[in-house]
Amino acid sequence: MEGTNYLTVAYLGMIAAIAIWTWTVVVRSRSIEARLEAVESSIGIDASQADDVAIQSTVDSQDDATV
């Protein structure tokens, strides 16, 4: 019985950990989404321009290829 109690405590700890992790991630996603909607609607840019590192990297590669 002692072993089962020990195991239950270990399980509860892990369940609490993944529940907190999941809750934090969902709340963070919703919070960023709300902030972004407010900012993007005020300045008028769209999602396709989001990853400027990838865009810049592609432009650099094309420049290298043409040189």
């Binding site: 072993g3 089962t4 399980y11 369940i15 996603s29 972004l36 900012v39 590192v53 810049q56 650099d60």
Partner: protein
Amino acid sequence: MRRRAPEIFLGLGFAGIMTTLYLGLNWAPSVSIDAFESPAAQRIFYWHVPSAWAAFIAFGVLFFGSVLWFFKRSPLGWRLHVAGTEAGLACGLMAVWSGCVWGAAEWGTPWDWSDVRLNTFGLLTLLALFLVLGRQSQPDGVETRDTFSTFGLYGFVLVPLTYVATRIWQIRHPGPVIAAGDDGGSLQSSMALVLLIGALSFTVFIIGHMLISMRITHLEQRLEQAQKSLDGGN
């Protein structure tokens, strides 16, 4: 509906994990008390094995994302890389922690430096930790992404090594129990069923986490771009 897909995956996965634990604790048969030092601790496997399985899926996504970024400069590839690292770290820690609980109860020690699978899996988890912390401490840029993608590419070699480790070196970890070859393994059908439910649940759960992580990365990039526009940078 599509917008809420990650939350649906997370909810279904979490419910499945709870079901697995309930079945593992209350329905799955006990193991022989003669064969194990601590028979009750064996039930930690209904968490340990599925979380290790989910970690391998996440490391696979990390590798695929790294390839896509490194060779195609794909924004999707970078988002997959980030999602794979975070999910790999979380599942890796779950597998390592549950393994330590098992080791302490059954082996008398939470860690054995001579067991190959234990140490290669520990290295994989440390690699994911390095990638998560490194990405948070470095400014985003092509060089940073290339560096971390290279670690993602070369680090993946630990995945097949971890998989075959118990086939080559059986030290603490047992040999294959489920995919054991022609005889179908030594696992009772009810135990295998609980493990299967666990593996499916963790898979759904980690897919949900990776989808939401990809969405967060995309939202952060859009927010950064919007802030640059506000500052007059673009």
